[in-house]
Symmetry: C2
Subunit: 210 residues, 2 copies
DNA sequence: TGCATTCTTGCATGATGTGCATTTTTACGC
DNA sequence: GCGTAAAAATGCACATCATGCAAGAATGCA
């Protein structure tokens, strides 16, 4: 379980990935998302275009730094452990940000990415589809907590599944809104606060709609 | 204000649109969404591929029958009028289904479309992006109602905008879930019930999370 | 060193989508 | 009907994205 020495192969892979992300972000910022072509990105990263798709599913994914739509069981467990006792909403949001980390919320590319998001908010749509693709994983992850919440417990499996999806949509929307707010308002708050902000947004909304 | 005679031009346009939708749905059902190519669809519809894009933005849009991402002011007013006194949630959901009508919820293609959705649930992701693209319009539409709701009223404009987006995400997710449920469970309920179901889903979720 | 695995690359291919100029079709006043 | 203007359809060129496949290069490991 030790993080042993990376090894040349893994190091190179990380390096290539980083070069691709950096190139994608830099060019998207300089030329605009649509004018930053795959060819240009790959040339800047000194990588063949064919290889690009060994790392990302699409250009947008590279710009946002999204990894393959999957979260490891260890990551899930770690989140569950760190926030034991949290309610479904908090858990869902934390899981989502776990996926984005370090994609969006960290690394030297953070500021540049936020500028891009500010200019191209539609990119955040990728987050939604990312979360939707992870739908099964996420529902599975919050299932126990949701199940122990009053009300949900007595749902039929179908109703339960449906309810979980709605909860996730709500949290995903709040996460997106929080990131967008943070990107738009000049990043005054520390990035860590975005997560809390998303949770607060959900709570506020629920409170008011009730 | 009378719906006067359509005129040849409009009739032909509607006809072509219908041919394209029918071809798209038929081929997607027969060959699968990914194997139903633009060329095949256009050939079946007896329309040039170039013309296709005068009607739809993408293949998926044609399969789902989504119109251009805009809702006319008349449609908005009509919904607002018909459901005067409704709360923001109901209003948002009704507006969304207004967009889908007759796209998904009506017409002879309904059953086929639901079969396709059942086999390719990821298509429903288009709904989310559609709603997101309409974000400004939708927020504008529910703004007055949201503004008269306690709690929202006192937000700063920024907070208000953010809250509106979260509400819309919630409603959009519920709409998607309701459609998916309906498509998956064999269409036992009448299609009109889907809308109510979506509203109920939102309310249930809010209730439980509070 | 030698072998197996993984990664990279080039090439071919297909599909989506857009701009532009041309032609065809429709609308409408005369 | 006729001619003109507007709208729509079309053909064509072109760019981009994305994937499959096979050959070659780099790495890991014994």
């Amino acid at each position: 379980m030790q993080t042993s020495e990376p090894g040349l192969r893994e190091r190179k892979r990380a390096e290539t990935r980083d070069k691709l992300e950096t190139a994608a972000v830099t060019l998207a910022l300089r030329d605009g998302v649509e004018h930053a072509t795959l060819d240009a990105i790959c040339e800047a990263a000194d990588v063949s275009t064919r290889t690009f798709f060994n790392y990302f599913d699409s250009k947008e994914d590279a710009i946002l730094g999204l990894k393959d739509s999957a979260i490891s069981d260890e990551e899930v467990s770690s989140v569950l452990e760190e926030h034991a006792g949290a309610d479904p909403v908090e858990l869902a949001v934390r899981l989502m940000f776990q996926v984005l980390n370090p994609s969006i919320t960290s690394s030297k590319l953070l500021k540049s990415r936020m500028k891009i998001v500010k200019q191209h908010p539609e990119l955040l749509g990728r987050l939604a589809s990312q979360f939707q693709r992870m739908g099964e994983q996420l529902t599975a992850a919050i299932r126990p907590v949701l199940n122990s919440a009053p009300g949900f417990r007595d749902d039929t499996p179908e109703d339960f599944q449906l309810s979980a999806e709605v909860v996730l949509a709500l949290c995903s929307g709040a996460a997106r809104a929080a990131v967008k707010e943070w990107a738009t308002t000049g990043n005054k708050a520390p990035i860590e606060a975005v997560e809390e902000r998303a949770i607060a947004l959900v709570r506020k909304t629920v409170e008011r709609l009730k």
